[in-house]
Symmetry: C2
Subunit: 285 residues, 2 copies
């Protein structure tokens, strides 16, 4: 039937119209998308004002995105879709992955190992020392390590355009023994941005916006799957209610509290500091 569709015939009509799609994977994904989108509308008996609200919500979500803010990723994160895609595509045997989140910035210049990436942001000093290996434990030299995290009030540099950029964000290369290290400040739990459409959704559902404290890592090396993950701080009050469902047991680690005095790299601290020693294992691609 080519016109005058009913609630049930329209879904087949749309799928039939897609039959000319040359790429079978595109056809498969679009067929499933249309099937579920239509089933959602039928199941909920979606009204015209609700449909218009959804159109406006999605439009605002797109228009909230900038070079440094990705509201659609945040929406995907808060609806658990990002974590589901992570689990579906999870490569086993190496360090576990988790969501990318909305604050990743590509192409940050490489800094020498041991650098301080605070760029003037104050907080409790934190030293991260790590080794990147393959799943057999062999070090991976020249791996590209991108790190980013929030300050102790919960803000990323891209949320503070009035302050120097980049900060609490850096790129490193592993040395011949697969090691990298940097100084930063100890992160804190924080609310995801609630001044956009995702905030409206959290408000409507009375969900809290908090994520447990963590440091983001993205590690890339030839012949290995790129690893996108966080390391969470042990004892955080939001580990069991992360707003984006991203916590895995193996990613929660102690950021050891160390007394004032010399650090392993020779720096001397005048007050207590945190030490994260955590190694990453990449799976072959």
């Amino acid at each position: 039937m080519a016109r005058e569709f009913s609630e049930t015939t329209i879904t087949d009509a749309v799928i039939e119209r897609m039959a000319t799609t040359p790429d079978p994977r595109t056809l498969e994904v679009l067929t499933s998308l249309v099937t579920h989108l239509h089933a959602f509308a039928r199941e909920t008996r979606l009204t015209v004002p609700e449909w218009m609200n959804a159109i406006e919500f999605l439009t605002r979500t797109g228009q909230t995105c900038t070079d440094t803010r990705q509201e659609f990723i945040l929406l995907s994160d808060t609806l658990g879709l990002s974590m589901l895609v992570d689990v579906i595509n999870h490569a086993t045997g190496g360090t576990e992955s988790t969501v990318l989140g909305p604050f990743y910035v590509p192409n940050i210049a490489v800094s020498p190992n041991g650098s301080d990436i605070t760029n003037g942001r104050r907080g409790q000093p934190m030293l991260v020392e790590s080794q990147v290996t393959n799943i057999a434990g062999t070090p991976i030299a020249e791996a590209l390590v991108e790190v980013w995290h929030s300050d102790d009030a919960g803000f990323y540099d891209v949320q503070q355009p009035e302050l120097p950029f980049p900060a609490l964000r850096g790129t490193f290369r592993t040395d011949e023994r697969g090691r990298f290290s940097f100084w930063s400040i100890y992160p804190h739990f924080y609310p995801i941005p609630t001044d956009g459409p995702v905030g409206e959704m959290l408000m409507a559902t009375k969900r809290h916006p908090f994520r447990p404290a963590h440091v983001h890592f993205m590690i890339s090396a030839p012949c290995h799957e790129r690893l996108v993950t966080h390391v969470f701080t042990h004892g955080d009050p939001y580990l069991d209610s992360d707003a984006v469902f991203a916590v895995k047991h193996s990613l929660v680690n102690t950021f050891a509290e160390m007394p004032a005095g010399p650090a392993p790299d020779g720096r001397t601290l005048d007050r207590p500091w945190r030490h994260l020693a955590y190694d990453f294992r990449l799976v072959p691609s």
Copy 2:
């Protein structure tokens, strides 16, 4: 389980997190949305690059929207969702409804009945004469009638910002006998805009972008359901493959070809013209 979700437990975890939603309808819609969104990702084994493509597609869709272009409505239209929502909410007994489309502009000033709304656009003259009644056939006076349509090359005024606005677009009030009328030009079939994300989707599926020629009507009156519909031109080559699935038999009508000479309203035409005589019946709200 509050962390370390599997492919199946994450859906329940997200729904459980929404349990605090005060409004039961919001909870119902979000629960169905999350269920279908997750089922789609599981069913297709959605990959991380595909997820990222989807994020970028939706972002571009939002950012393509302006005051006069609604790309998310166009996406909903081309995926058959708009027509499905129309069918679900269809009030029976009156004139049938169809999609709103992306080119509606609110708050156009009211013109006197019989006005010419071409504002300089050339084409075959068209007279529309109509009566608005309730389902018992009683005329509805003072109904607000908004009309809009494309020119004979298929463009709406909002797609031609270099030309005068509004054109082929007007608002009328029915008189004491429920009548309204206006002069315009005979519309033509046309492609929906293909220079945005929806165009990418049509290209990927090798679907044509054409809509059969039509005039949009939105009719509002107190105590009646607002009617959003089109009248399509009989004989159009795209009636059976409308890019947005919006054709219903009852909405296809003859725009009678009339010889040069006097029109019913006293105007004299120096060449053949089109005459649409079509009445609308509103259902009570």
